[in-house]
């Protein structure tokens, strides 16, 4: 049979952000896939070498708006380590609350997008309705819906008072109550199951070999979460489960994210309950010479920052490795053998964030 070449992207109705898949087809089956990124390259690593630390913080938040808190946290904890300061406990708890709200918001966004890609638009709108409650919480907590900018070097910008804490918990409950209804659809609906089961399978061995991260890795049966293995903030003081599934298909990747939303909600409740009183920030005097590798578990997986300082007020080098890079690479292994119609859904299931990837 004659091979057919299809450029899938960079601008395509099924893609939320620009990237390109070069697909070789035989009939309806994909024979090989190659990923090409860079359509949104912003040169942020270059810019960071020319900005002062507090300006860098505002810039790294804009690497990506859907995991803004992860970038901000990863950068800020590295710089704080170089400056050798201890952030007050209360600030760490507030950061944890915002971090997990960010994770819920990001996971619900993907669950909505995935149901849209599966052709289930009602579910898409209902999921985003549940997400809207979380966006309200974030707006009240930080003043912003998207770029929270809650972190400053040495602490946080805003405190949580009792009234706000009550509002957060109430709104979170109403969001989860709404999600409870949808959970049944996501896990049990036969149409959605038929559309997402056994496609885009990544076995446990392949997942390890390809070094994928985050929910994609956990859906393939590997229990690896930076919050547990390399704890930051106050995760070592909180009780939460790591969600793992064994099948490694699109369905289990969505299920892992759905169940992680409930774990995040547990973390937020504990963090608000245990929050100690005290200062919310300390001044940062001087960033000493040295280097640090900082990691956090972003909604999409392991996010890594390498920061080198030469003792001046600008960093010498900042390297950002976002979780979508290894996950995108795994697409070249996941897609071949599937039908062209499955490509958008498999691509969506890794929750690609191209704004992150392109930096």
């Amino acid at each position: 049979m004659k091979k057919l070449y299809i450029p899938f992207g960079p601008y395509h109705p099924a893609l939320e952000e620009p990237f390109k898949l070069d697909l070789d087809l035989e009939g309806e089956r994909v024979k090989s896939a190659r990923v090409r990124v860079g359509y949104n390259h912003k040169g942020i690593e270059y810019l960071l070498e020319r900005r002062r630390y507090h300006e860098c913080l505002r810039l790294v938040e804009r690497v990506c708006s859907i995991c803004t808190q992860s970038h901000s946290q990863c950068f800020v904890q590295g710089v704080e380590k170089l400056a050798r300061i201890d952030v007050p406990d209360r600030a760490l708890y507030i950061r944890t609350v915002v971090f997990e709200l960010n994770r819920i918001e990001s996971h619900l966004l993907l669950l909505g997008v995935a149901s849209h890609l599966a052709g289930f638009d009602t579910l898409f709108m209902y999921t985003w309705y549940a997400r809207e409650h979380v966006m309200d919480i974030l707006e009240v907590l930080t003043g912003n819906r998207v770029q929270y900018a809650i972190n400053t070097l040495g602490g946080v910008r805003r405190d949580i008072d009792e009234k706000t804490a009550k509002f957060v918990l109430e709104k979170l409950d109403s969001s989860l109550k709404w999600l409870d209804k949808l959970k049944k659809v996501f896990v049990e609906d036969p149409t959605l199951k038929a559309r997402t089961k056994e496609i885009g399978v990544l076995s446990k061995d392949d997942a390890r070999k390809l070094c994928v991260v985050g929910p994609v890795l956990r859906a393939s049966g590997v229990e690896w979460d930076i919050r547990r293995v390399d704890p930051y903030l106050v995760y070592d003081r909180l009780d939460f489960n790591i969600i793992v599934a064994d099948e490694g298909d699109v369905f289990s990747r969505l299920a892992v994210r759905l169940l992680e939303v409930y774990e995040s909600a547990r973390i937020i409740r504990q963090a608000i309950k245990d929050m100690p009183s005290g200062d919310i920030r300390v001044p940062i005097e001087h960033v000493a010479e040295g280097e640090v590798v900082s990691r956090v578990e972003a909604p999409r997986g392991e996010l890594l920052y390498y920061i080198r300082s030469n003792g001046s007020n600008t960093p010498e080098r900042v390297k950002i490795r976002t979780p979508t890079i290894p996950n995108l690479y795994a697409l070249e292994y996941m897609i071949p053998g599937h039908r062209l119609a499955d490509v958008p859904l498999i691509t969506g299931s890794i929750d690609p964030c191209l704004s992150c990837t392109d930096r």
Binding site: G38, V293, R321, I325, Y329, A330
Partner: protein, 140 residues
């Protein structure tokens, strides 16, 4: 220091005698090795089940520092190598860690380090018509 780091250090001493330990802190181990040993090193890292997080390149004016970040059970092992700036050649580790494909291509286009044995050393983030021999993250 936690027991996990001690266990991994013992494992490293046994499997990688050539690595010079630079500094060890909680869940971080820094090792320096010669650039020609990187492929062999990566092979043995894979055999003990390490995860490759990324490859960082830093321009040190007269040389390049390549840092391979490996993870074993939450402990980060940062492997430092020095690359000559006038002849920036390094063995590719794509056949050992397939994902290094993307990481090496990024270092290649940003710094001009050439990874020998890489199956497709093409542009990753920069446009295809980017001028030759212009490397945005090089200094000096």
């Amino acid at each position: 220091m936690n027991s996990c780091v001690e266990k991994i250090l013992a494992q490293l001493e046994r499997n990688f005698p050539e690595g010079e330990k630079l500094c060890v802190s909680e869940r971080r181990i820094n090792i320096r090795i010669a650039v020609k040993g990187i492929k062999n090193f990566a092979k043995r890292m894979r055999d003990i089940g390490a995860h490759l997080s990324t490859i960082t390149c830093v321009d040190e004016i007269d040389t390049f520092s390549l840092i391979y970040h490996f993870d074993i059970e939450g402990c980060l092992i940062n492997v430092y190598t020095k690359v000559d700036k006038s002849m920036p050649l390094v063995d590719s580790i794509v056949e050992i860690y397939p994902v290094a494909d993307f990481y090496e291509r990024e270092v290649y286009e940003m710094f001009g380090v050439i990874f020998t044995g890489h199956p497709r050393l093409e542009k990753f983030l920069l446009p295809d018509d980017w001028p030759k021999n212009v490397f945005p993250l090089r200094k000096g």
